[in-house]
Amino acid sequence: MLSDTILQFLCKKGTISYILFSPEFKIIEFSENISSISDTPQNINIGSDIRDSFWEFIGIEEKILELLKSNENTLKIPMIYKNSKYYDIEIEPLKIDKYDELFIAYIDQKSTFSVEYFKTIQELNKKTLILQTQELKTDKQKNYYDLINQNIISFHVNTDGIIIEANSICIYFLGKNENEVIGQHFSVFFHTRESNINNNQTKIFNAISAQGDNIFFHAEIIPIQNDGIINENIIICQDITHLKKIEKKLEYAANHDSLTGLPNRSLLLQKIDKAIEKSEDNSTNFSLCFIDLNNFKQVNDTYGHHAGDMLLKHVSSTLSSFVREDDSIARIGGDEFVILFIQLENQDYLNTIIQRIQKSPDKYTLVYNETDEIQFSFSIGVSHYPKNGTDAKSLLDYANKEMYKSKK
């Protein structure tokens, strides 16, 4: 028939294919160009099951029966992607000649223009996904930043050191209202040796918390540039109180005798140096009293080291009672003690003190146990600044020699 020839011609020229099938999915007729769309072209035969050659027909069994009954007479499956091409499939009931119930599926290949449009959509989707992923990363970074910021004190100051912004943890730490903090010089709350701010510097701050705790901070000063000019700094404070405590403990251990708790030789030398500086400035003098515990070795040999340690603690306690507030006492060796007497009123006063020290063992003997009392005595040598030396070493040497003289 001419109409059949024209139909096939149009299908071939255009992008439309068709296939007729029964409600049992048996193929009745199809256009020649249908094979390029089929998943398995070799299965396209009159009488074969359309679902063997077109997978998209699997699952629509109930739906096409509904098409026969309902007013909705088209089932459309749009945008099926096959072999790098897109197709729309429309299925409609059809009545021809001897067939009471038939279905025609016409398959329309999308134009090149449409495909280009879809590719644009794909690109847009790709960019959107990248953007969303980046936003998620940014959100995460912001969350991390907020989390850190919630636990670290920070505030902004202008070049004069006036606080112009403070984070919530800073306000909370100080126990103030924001308007009590903003506008104040930072040194009102954060104490440091120098109250000026230098860019890219670190400082140690000391501040009192709302709870009254003395907190040390390591403060980092970060300059902020606006239009190439540094007009403010962010100060980020990290609590280093625990480090300061450790530092103090280490410093104490380095400068003190662990048995008696008295300053050791190192700290005594520092104190003598300071005393010399002070005496030079004020034209005053001071004296060193070198005290050696006589026969200490015998105590260790007789009673043991435990008794020796007890005696050293007892002596340090006894000698400390002769020391005024500004004076210092140190244990500089095994059984050697030094007292630094500052700003003595006169020589007589010093002589009186030394006599009392000499007599103190009689008064303060060490009761070791129920039956034993440990007797002890001192040998003492004295040096005066600047008469017997002008530095710590020479003053100690002089007093040491005087002490040995007194032993004899």
Binding site: R51, G59, L75, P78, M79, Q122, N125
Partner: protein
């Protein structure tokens, strides 16, 4: 042979195509190319009872802010796999909407939920109970990774066994 249709549903970029590719070809690509329309894949399966079947996988384009899912794609599905991206909370929040859409088309269809990209998950999350409670049709929730293949076969086999059992 018994052949049936299942549809992969979810927002765009969650990895529906990657899950299908991992299951059908055991392959994976890092390059993202969003699906347009629908593409179909076929997989021959054997259930735990030894029943052979053909699973037709409809990999449809994901929902975007500007374009909803074509309901026509869901027609005749025997089951649905709803896919979400563990690294994008919005895609997990929209699972509920996808369930409603699927059940509007096929009221009694079993649903599996694939929480995909588990290889990129920063924190171990557990909202299985919460998701399971969204619908009685949900038969299982899995954390999947199309990239590493984690739980991919499990989720498709779970679907197959359920459908074959019903058949």
């Amino acid at each position: 042979m018994f052949a049936y249709k299942i549809v992969m549903v979810g927002d765009f970029g969650v990895g529906k195509t990657s899950l299908v590719r991992r299951f059908v070809d055991n392959s994976f690509s890092e390059d993202y190319l969003s699906s347009i329309g629908v593409s179909m894949s076929k997989k021959q399966l054997t259930s735990v009872d030894g029943f052979n079947s053909t699973m037709m996988l409809w990999d449809i384009e994901g929902r975007t802010e500007y374009k909803q899912i074509f309901k026509q794609y869901l027609v005749g599905a025997k089951a649905f796999i709803i896919v979400a991206d563990l690294t994008r909370p919005d895609t997990i929040n929209s699972i509920d909407e996808h369930i409603n859409l699927c059940l509007d088309s096929v009221a009694d269809a079993p649903i599996c939920i694939a929480l995909n990209k588990s290889d990129l998950e920063l924190r171990d999350t557990n909202f299985f109970d919460e998701l399971n409670n969204l619908s009685e049709n949900i038969i299982s929730v899995h954390k999947t990774s199309a990239k590493e293949g984690n739980s991919v076969n499990e989720i498709f086999n779970k679907i197959n066994n359920t459908i074959v059992e019903k058949f």
